[in-house]
């Protein structure tokens, strides 16, 4: 016993002695310390890549409910942001329907990382370890990313705490300064715009392939400013359409902006947009197509292979193959191909249903200078605003239908961006003719819709309700309302951004690598047009030129006037499924009127056996899932999200929570 005590004492004395030595404070070998990482330019660039990754871009890997950079994510389980708007119906049984907040974003940890990055590069420059030129670029990038993060915070919550330095615990123990209160909504937007200016003033006008073609340029910062300023201006102008009340409103943490503010923000949008249009060298991708066919191909190419379209693209996010490297890539192809083309028979696949609402919105090529939408023509009497709520239980179909020889002809005169964005009935996707049939009319006039059945036609042939005897032989309306309903519920599917003419390198989760376009010139052009017409500032003539340049790229030959209605319709058509519609409904305070127990619509191609040979008729119906849900409603409080953690961060909560 005594011996042990002695040994312990001796050992303890070693410890006491050695405690003063460094050999116990070794650096871990499997990690890189901040000092080392920031001590050289390569390390700094590693950190830079990390904070680029933290940008809350609503891309293919964003899932409203769970957040950004989800692997697998985004399209995982058939999710797509268009389903939160009137552009599409999908993921019908769960999840984020119109009227639901787009998912929290409250990543002050990432903001701290950016602030830390900005402080560190300054130190490195001061110590002579970094050139002035590199510092300027990195400084610009840091502020661009910060602007983007605060833009996403402001658009979700209104005024938020603005933290533009690395917060430190106080020596005195009084940490009350760490609890930064919310700034007003106006101050927050002003901060976003001033950060954009700071970024634009320091970023290079172009980046090289060797340095990183996907890094931000001056034009990316200005494109962000154009978008953010238009957003802020719209809220200032349209806030009263859905005014809220409560403590947050009284303190101007939400709302509280004036007509002067609106005018000022519109002007900032105009100036930023004009700078890009005049000086960036960007043009529309293939602005003068020789034919409609070429225009359709160009437009589809831009999203299928965005790297071909750097002429127009200002900023985009790219991916590496996630089926080879873990936690990478995206799944949009995996989940959203139509049933007839999908890779594997998995739950929730192939459910993308572009709405009839958006299909009807596209123009035709009458090109008579008015630019009006032309709904698809289903009836000889021109009535195109009647919809059947319950097609399955119909006992007769007596409307004066137009007869079509096939499923596709009804769309053949529409704006080519429709066929380039939507998989239409009877069109070809991945070499397969897509069949969206959803019913038949028996020879005795009895309709059979939405259920598996057969009937003999006047020509003696057997016809199937879904146009095929085989469950993999059709892409719409199958098994509606069941868990296995891996079909479009609208009669349309997604084409834009999907790999249609090419094959996905590895048809697996994370196997898609096509880049996501965040900013492109077309948006800047329409931002300018909207800001000019809304505010009476800028040049209305240029607004018209820009509006028509975009239509010309889609093979239109006429010039239409730059009315607000035309500009907003053009936005919906040109940017369909790109996520623009969702935030347009937000900023212009239209969500609660567009979605007030509202139902989206579907188009059911039906084979009619009353005529010989049998032909197709098209029935306008209320979407099955919206009908079952009694419509979708957006509450005005949802214009601002619920601030997380108010019990501990002491922030004033937004109205209605």
């Amino acid at each position: 016993m005594r011996k042990i005590l002695i040994y312990i004492s001796i050992f303890a004395s070693f410890l006491i002695v050695e405690a003063c030595e460094d050999f116990l404070t070794i650096e871990p070998l499997d990690k890189t310390s901040a000092d080392v990482l920031f001590s050289n330019v390569a390390g700094v660039k590693t950190v830079l890549a990390n904070i680029y990754q933290k940008m809350p871009i609503e891309d293919f890997t964003w899932t409203g409910g769970t957040g950004f950079n989800q692997h697998p994510g985004g399209a995982f389980g058939g999710w797509h942001k268009a389903g939160m708007t009137d552009e599409a119906v999908l993921e019908p049984n769960t999840g984020r329907q119109p009227g639901v907040f787009p998912g929290n974003y409250w990543d002050y940890e990432a903001i701290r990382q950016v602030n830390q990055f900005l402080e560190t590069i300054l130190t490195l420059k001061d110590e002579g370890k970094m050139t002035e030129a590199l510092y300027t670029q990195l400084y610009g990038e840091g502020h661009f990313i910060l602007a983007y993060m605060y833009f996403k915070l402001a658009s979700r919550y209104g005024g938020v705490p603005i933290i533009d330095e690395v917060q430190k615990l106080s020596e005195s123990g009084d940490n009350s300064a760490l609890f930064v209160p919310r700034s007003t909504e106006k101050e927050t937007w002003d901060f976003v715009l001033s950060e954009c200016d700071l970024a634009a003033a320091n970023l290079p006008t172009s980046v090289t392939t060797s340095d990183g073609i996907y890094r931000a340029t001056k034009w990316a910062a200005l494109a962000l400013k154009s978008r953010a300023a238009l957003h802020a201006a719209s809220i200032a102008k349209y806030w009263t359409n859905a005014a809220l009340t409560g403590d947050a409103v009284n303190a101007k943490l939400v709302g509280g902006m004036t007509a002067t503010d609106a005018s000022n923000y519109y002007l900032q949008c105009i100036n930023a947009s004009k700078d890009i249009i005049d000086n960036s060298g960007k043009t529309l991708y293939k602005p003068n197509p020789a034919s409609k066919t070429e225009a359709a191909k160009n437009y589809q190419d831009m999203f299928e292979t965005p790297s071909m379209a750097w002429d127009e693209v200002i900023f985009m996010k790219t991916y590496i193959d996630g089926s080879v490297t873990g936690q990478q890539g995206h799944d949009i192809d995996f989940w959203l191909y139509p049933q007839q083309c999908k890779f594997q028979n998995l739950y929730m696949a192939a459910r993308f249903g572009a709405s009839l609402n958006i299909v009807d919105l596209f123009e035709d090529y009458t090109d008579d200078g008015n630019g009006l939408s032309v709904p698809v023509k289903t009836r000889t009497d021109g009535v195109e605003d009647e919809y059947e709520d319950d097609p399955k239980n119909l006992t007769s179909l007596t409307q004066p239908f137009i007869y079509y020889d096939n499923q596709y002809d009804i769309f053949k005169d529409k704006d080519v961006r429709l066929q380039a964005s939507v998989v239409l009935p009877g069109s070809t996707f991945h070499g397969t003719e897509i069949n969206m049939q959803g019913g038949l009319v028996q020879m005795d006039g009895t309709p059979v819709i939405y259920s598996v059945s057969t009937a003999v036609g006047p020509d003696g042939n057997t016809y199937y309700t879904y146009g095929s005897a085989n469950e993999a032989g059709y892409s719409a309306f199958g098994l509606l309302g069941t868990a296995a309903a891996n079909y479009s519920s609208t009669g349309f599917a997604l084409r834009k951004t999907l790999q249609d003419t090419k094959n996905v390198s590895t048809p697996a989760l994370g196997g898609s690598t096509q880049p996501y376009i965040e900013f492109r010139l077309a948006e800047v052009l329409l931002n300018y047009a909207e800001a000019a017409i809304e505010s009476g500032q800028g040049d209305a003539g240029l607004a018209k030129t820009y509006l028509n340049a975009i239509r010309k790229r889609a093979a239109h030959t006429d010039e239409i006037p730059a009315t607000l209605e035309n500009i907003l319709k053009e936005r919906r058509v040109e940017f369909v499924f790109e996520g623009t519609r969702f935030w347009d409904l937000y900023r212009r305070r239209e969500f609660h009127t567009v979605f007030n127990a509202s139902k989206r619509y579907s188009l059911v191609p039906i084979i009619d056996l009353r005529v010989n040979p049998p032909k197709y008729i098209f029935l306008r119906v209320t979407n099955y899932y919206d009908q079952a849900a009694g419509g979708r409603t957006f509450l005005t409080r949802t214009y601002y999200g619920e601030i997380p953690g108010v019990a501990t961060n002491n922030l004033i909560q937004n109205p209605g929570y």
Binding site: T245, T636, A647
Partner: protein, 253 residues
């Protein structure tokens, strides 16, 4: 044997400790008082004092924020309103409240301070409904196998327009925009929508109808059916708009 005895003492000790613990306040949930007030009343039309009917699901609600002692960061408490426009909440704390009407079927407003006393509080809220559905008649037109509703509508203010109207049917009194049977149009006209929203003429009589023959599967059972007419307004600057209703009518089919 010694081991047994040790275990015996151990059990005694643990039991004693447990008993000791339970006897103290540790298991009391909290020291707050229970809800000590009840609040009830109705949403009434400021003209005529009639009840302003709504939906239970996705209808008008009363938003209450408890001020006073908890005013630093009050959370929204929702007091629900029954279809007929009455409401009751029996578990409320007496305190001062801020009342907000948002996303309702009448013009929104806020009551900055509302005193709820201990015990029963009967409070009626006078409002301006977006639309009044008046002179309603819902009848069974047996020869034509239809349910026919006729009515007039009136805007709460001159600026109000009408966006849509509908005749709903269900098998109980909760019938409305969100609780109803899906009906086929057939030769009837169960809904009308106006795009753009139409100016309201209080002199116009509207007729909506449900074709019973075309909806044989909905009305397959002989029983009481509940019919109700709703109209939805269009009005700028008031946020989310809910439907206005006339009281339901029961018809045995």
């Amino acid at each position: 044997m010694i081991v047994m005895k040790k275990i015996y003492y151990l059990i005694l000790l643990i039991t004693g400790l447990l008993l000791g613990v339970t006897s103290c306040d540790m298991f009391k949930i909290d020291t707050f008082s229970e809800p000590d007030a009840q609040v009830f009343g109705a949403i009434r039309d400021s003209i005529g004092g009639g009840l302003v009917e709504t939906d239970l699901q996705n209808g008008s609600t009363i938003g209450a924020y408890e001020l006073g002692e908890y005013s630093s960061n009050p959370e929204l408490r929702t007091w629900y309103i029954k279809e007929n426009g009455e409401y009751r909440n029996n578990l409320v704390y007496s305190n001062t409240y801020r009342i907000e009407f948002m996303s309702c079927n009448f013009f929104p407003y806020t009551i900055p301070q509302l005193e709820i006393k201990q015990g029963a509080n009967e409070i009626d809220f006078n409002v301006v409904p977006f639309i009044r559905v008046k002179n309603l008649s819902i009848t069974h037109d047996a020869p034509n196998s239809k349910i026919v509703a006729t009515f007039y509508i009136e805007g709460g203010k001159p600026t109000v327009k009408v966006a849509s109207m509908a005749l709903y049917v269900f098998t109980d009194m909760h019938v409305g925009e969100y609780i109803n049977k899906t009906v086929s149009t057939g030769t009837g006209q169960p809904t009308r929508s106006f795009s753009p929203a139409a100016t309201i003429d209080p002199e116009t009589q509207y007729t909506l109808s449900i074709d019973l023959a075309a909806n044989a599967s909905v009305f397959s059972v002989h029983r009481n059916y509940y019919f109700r007419v709703g109209a939805k307004a269009s009005q700028a600057g008031v946020g989310t708009i809910r439907s206005n209703y006339a009281p339901y009518v029961v018809i045995a089919l």
